[in-house]
Symmetry: C2
Subunit: 201 residues, 2 copies
Amino acid sequence: MPTTATLQRRDTLRTRLVSIAEATIRVHGVQSLKARDLAASAGCSVGAIYNVFGDLSDLVLVVNSRTFSKMGEELAKAVAAHAGNPTDELVGLSVGYLSFARSNTNQWRALFEAESSNGEDAPDWYNEQLGGLFGEIGRRVKLLHPNMADSDVTLMSRTLFSTAHGMVSLGLEGRQSGVPLDELERMIGTTVRALAQIDKF
Amino acid sequence: MPTTATLQRRDTLRTRLVSIAEATIRVHGVQSLKARDLAASAGCSVGAIYNVFGDLSDLVLVVNSRTFSKMGEELAKAVAAHAGNPTDELVGLSVGYLSFARSNTNQWRALFEAESSNGEDAPDWYNEQLGGLFGEIGRRVKLLHPNMADSDVTLMSRTLFSTAHGMVSLGLEGRQSGVPLDELERMIGTTVRALAQIDKF
């Protein structure tokens, strides 16, 4: 059984590794995260990293979880700015998503690039956090369409997210196939308003 | 000035490299394309590859161009199957896009993963090919909304593509945030029909 001192050292190293990984992802992107560089920055051995995190993807998951929290706070502010009816609030969520992705592009990308952020592989605590964000969408869809079956509310919530995500992704990458940056907010709003009206599908 | 025999050897090597690269991308994905492996498969030196293609991304661009052609043919069939009014044809294009991405996932992904497929960096012939596919969308938007300004037709075409692309991407990756595979076609159709109705934005 590890001693208290060992557990404390482990905890300190854990915090340091998360902080270094977060900075690396923010500046260079998740692809640049390497155990050897991490160990050098944290002043520990590569083995010590794997002693704390079973796998680098577990470390990325912790960083992604922090990104989710930060995004959740910003989305709440964006909703407050667009508060009124549920449609306006859904527009607020989407525009907030665009704004967060724009300001935190590498951290936002890491949410989708990490292999183990797939539903099947991710731990329950991660999926619950993701579920919380989708709950914010679903709650407003349900307010707009009180008689809609829950399974359809879920489908529409995912549709709303996927469409906004597609526009944000291609737009931020400056793809020729995407909506130009200066029109993104308007076109995301247009799409959300059209989808929010759909009662049956 | 190179002799005819040199030019022919170069041309034969070019064809062989494109064919090997296409097979590698199809089976293993564009990330697996390495000059050393290519050279070994083609029975040439690494230098010979760079003599034919300035850069591996130029080779990827040629493969992507072939993927576009193949996709164009399949989209034409999908439209024919949904032919009727322009809205149905837009649904056909989107469902065809889903179907193509599902059957040719790695080649389809390469269209978006290749760095130089960004509009600014890609050569004119590539952008013209992409423009041709968007012309198919825009033509139908214009039929639905004859008085819509051309700039708005372009914006709506990109919006239609981006929304369908977002749903296809997250759905095919099996993301928890995406629409489940067995509901994708229905929800893409729902989205396209809602967007196709929008006259002003």
